[in-house]
């Protein structure tokens, strides 16, 4: 595969910061690691990102604490704010940066979620984004009235209908519906606000929406999901994909080409959907220190207990009394996923197959259990001097593998500082990063075309 199949010489690197909330990637044992929940932590990260001229600050979402073996997982950072509420608070103290809330389409209703998102969009002056996720955690439903959960196919069906309904709600107010003079005949023109009525397999909604369109039309739509159904959903409905292909160039390029093909098939220009993979960046000022810094980061992320827990998720049993620096278990995993394993490492695959793969890897490279856990589950992203990493990020974007990156700092709240202080200037020197915010909305930061539904309306008008 060549680097130049989709060369874009002047392309700019877009950066976001992904404040994950729940993960083992944040090194909580470091003395500089702050509270995962105090507002000060979020303020600091958001203001640093804004100082670094980032497009967006992202919050993830999880609606039930993770469990393993029927017990709450106690090894990782856990406990996080409600995303939209927290971003509204950050909107009050930031001026430029986009604010993206991960919100699932399964345990929300369009009338409510669309309204809360456009409230954030209006308060922030057009800086809101919505990372629409579908939630693959079966047990989350137990916290909600609907109970239960939807299977994979139905989740994207619901997500598609959800987005259509949300867009109808966002577009219900005609532009200029609200009076601009206090002596106008009425506050809003009588036919300026339409009722929205939808009856689909998932929804039965009748509502008169209460909010006008924002400076960017409506919130920018992000998607995070990787299955074919997820990719088609993104190609048909969304503006940005928050992908997991942010480590290997070839895989990222292949993913991007797959997405571009799907976007074309959906009848949109192929660059209509931007791709921002999640990634981790480890910087060292001298090339000779890079390897050591990477090792330090990985060892902080993969404590012995965390490694045992990740392997335990595959093996389907508690391994916490084993030696993380010893070998993988000699016995086989519990074959059926009967023990309610609710972690990430297994990822829906057959545990016996994963165990075979991991054993082969351990044997070939003489790896301990902990080293296998690191080798198989870490998505390390980029490591190097600021100059080296700036070259790499620029190459990725200019060869069409991505449009930018969504960085998860491994230290919170201080981890973004060195990215902004050291990496951003290197990118700017290469001409691949903005030197000031040119626009005021998130849609403008990302270089997106106008909101999809509005374009559809306009093209329909042009045809009709």
């Amino acid at each position: 595969m060549t680097d130049n199949s989709y060369a874009r010489p002047g392309a700019q690197v877009h950066l976001g910061v992904f404040f994950q909330g729940v993960n083992h990637t944040t090194i909580w044992s470091d003395p500089s690691s702050g509270s995962q929940i105090d507002f000060e932590t979020f303020r600091r990260v958001a203001l640093t990102a804004e100082r670094g001229l980032f497009d967006a600050f992202f919050l993830g979402e999880g609606l039930r604490l993770r469990e393993q073996e029927g017990k709450i997982l106690d090894l990782d950072i856990v406990g996080r704010p409600d995303a939209i509420t927290q971003l509204a608070a950050l909107a009050g103290i930031t001026r430029h940066i986009g604010l993206v809330a991960t919100q699932n389409t399964t345990y929300n209703e369009p009338a409510d979620l669309a309204r809360r998102l456009s409230g954030l969009d209006l308060l922030s002056g057009g800086r809101a984004g919505w990372n629409a996720v579908t939630t693959d955690n079966a047990w989350t439903g137990e916290n909600f009235r609907r109970g239960g959960f939807l299977d994979h196919a139905d989740r994207y069906e619901r997500a598609g209908q959800f987005l259509d309904t949300a867009r109808a709600i966002w577009d219900a107010w005609a532009d200029g519906a609200v009076a601009t003079r206090t002596d106008a005949p009425s506050w809003a023109t009588p036919d300026g606000v339409r009722e929205v009525s939808r009856r689909t397999s998932q929804f039965d909604v009748t509502i008169t929406p209460t909010l006008p369109r924002s400076g960017q039309g409506h919130p920018v739509i992000f998607q995070a999901g990787d299955s074919p159904a997820g990719r088609d959903f993104a190609a048909a409905h969304t503006d940005v994909i928050f992908s997991r292909h942010g480590t290997h160039f070839d895989a990222a390029l292949a993913f991007a080409e797959d997405i571009r093909a799907r976007v074309r098939r959906a009848g949109r220009p192929e660059d209509d959907v931007k791709i921002l993979p999640g990634t981790q960046i480890v910087l060292a000022e001298n090339a000779s220190e890079v390897e050591e810094k990477v090792r330090w980061v990985l060892e902080g992320q993969y404590t012995g207990q965390t490694a045992l827990s990740l392997v335990g998720q595959v093996w389907g049993r508690d391994l916490s009394d084993r030696d993380p620096d010893g070998p993988l278990p000699e016995f086989d995993p519990v074959p059926a996923p009967i023990s309610v394993t609710r972690g990430a490492a297994r990822d829906g695959k057959d545990p016996l197959a994963i165990a075979r793969e991991w054993r082969a890897l351990a044997e070939a490279q003489n790896l301990s259990l902990r080293q296998v856990a690191i080798a198989t589950t870490q998505r390390s992203g980029f490591a190097g001097t600021p100059g080296q990493v700036a070259d790499e990020l620029t190459r990725w974007v200019r060869s069409g593998a991505t449009d930018g990156f969504n960085i998860s700092p491994y230290l919170v709240p201080t981890g973004l500082d060195e990215i902004v202080d050291l990496l951003v200037p290197e990118l700017q020197e290469r001409g691949s990063y903005r030197t000031e915010y040119e626009g005021s909305t998130l849609r403008e930061h990302l270089g997106l075309r106008p909101a999809l539904s509005r374009r559809e309306v306009e093209s329909r008008q042009a045809v009709g």
Partner: protein, 352 residues
């Protein structure tokens, strides 16, 4: 006695024509600037809390404003730009998901460092059900049941993390003490909630919960809001609420200082006149209630008068007190920070 001063800041004011007398053009109502300026003015004036009305439905008709940003978002937007004023949004109890409500309000409490409150309000209009695709709840007993369940679940979720659940124990590699994080296993009439919360226990432990007299069981809330068409009715309602076990009772009051056009009948005492008259009325009420929530007829006309004349007079007279920076809303209202339900159970257990 000390009178807690609250102000309702929804829309342009309680009067349907208030938008015509706003200090900005109508299309500026739904902006962060308008929200922030007004809350800042209320904080500077010395109000103890600002409240934000809400519903999924358009707020007005008859040519008035039909737009409204949701109340939690507005409260959160000013949380980090203010330092003393309590921020109290309305969130419905009939259809909203209590799990979401609990997380949103706990987050508001973190962002405001313990200045969050909640007006738990029933959604009596069945059009809310149509918007959400839910079955209508209209019978008073059913509305009451939903409200009881919602408040119970939200409060229990705030209690589901003990205060010291995050341990960061380097030796064992444990971030959390899982024995200090609790499932609720709530089983209500119409739904169940597993828990625990995803947001750790909020700074106040429990946000200050407000309910309306006649609707809400006083044992579920911290503040009961009473109203009546006359001062006598209001005082009577306050006496009844106290007798019913209300911890704090606040009176609802319509005020029209600038416009001196009384608002439409709202079921609340309606004051129209000058600052001195209002100060006298509040002195009278001070003998019977713990606080008031003022509903200005026209926010942009009444808030400046309240700030320049009414609140300073009450502060000078020692009837009202400016909240102290760094205090929580609970602290300002003289309420304790409760121990969690679960910790209380354990303490009881170990003392037996």
């Amino acid at each position: 006695m000390s009178l807690v001063l609250g102000i309702e800041l929804d829309g342009e004011g309680a009067h349907p024509e208030a938008w015509r007398r706003a200090a900005h053009t109508p299309d500026r109502l739904l902006t962060g600037r308008t929200v922030a300026d007004r809350v800042a003015a209320a904080e500077n004036a010395g109000f103890t809390f600002a409240s934000f009305d809400d519903s999924l439905l358009p707020p007005g008709a008859g040519g008035g404003p039909v737009g409204r940003i949701d109340a939690v978002n507005r409260a959160a937007f000013v949380a980090a730009t203010t330092s003393t004023i309590g921020l109290v949004p309305v969130v419905g109890t009939t259809y909203a998901e209590p799990f979401h409500t609990s997380s949103q309000l706990a987050t508001l409490d973190y962002a405001s460092r313990g200045r969050g409150g909640w007006i738990a309000a029933r959604d009596t209009d069945p059009r809310v059900a149509s918007a959400l695709g839910r079955a209508e709840v209209t019978a008073p007993a059913d509305l009451a049941q939903e409200e009881r369940d919602a408040i119970t679940v939200v409060r229990d979720l705030w209690d589901s993390w003990e205060d010291d659940a995050v341990i960061r124990d380097y030796a064992t590699g444990r971030f959390l003490d899982r024995d200090r994080v609790h499932y609720l296993d709530f089983q209500g009439e119409t739904y169940s909630v597993k828990g625990p919360a995803i947001v750790p226990r909020p700074p106040q432990g429990q946000l200050v919960v407000f309910g309306r007299a006649g609707d809400t069981d006083p044992s579920l809330v911290d503040v009961v809001l009473v109203s009546g068409p006359t001062v006598e009715d209001t005082v009577e309602a306050a006496v009844r609420a106290k007798a019913g076990g209300a911890v704090l009772v606040f009176a609802e009051l319509d005020v029209a200082l600038g416009a001196s056009t009384p608002a439409q009948p709202s079921g609340r005492v309606s004051f129209a006149g000058g600052a001195t008259g209002l100060v006298d009325l509040l002195r009278t009420l001070d003998a019977h209630v713990d606080g008031v929530r003022l509903h200005p007829a026209v926010v942009d006309e009444d808030l400046p008068v309240l700030a320049r004349f009414v609140v300073p007079a009450l502060l000078r007279a020692g009837i009202a007190h400016r909240p102290v920076p760094g205090s929580t809303l609970r602290g300002t209202l003289g309420l304790d920070r409760p121990v969690t339900r679960f910790q209380a159970e354990r303490l009881e257990h170990s003392s037996r």
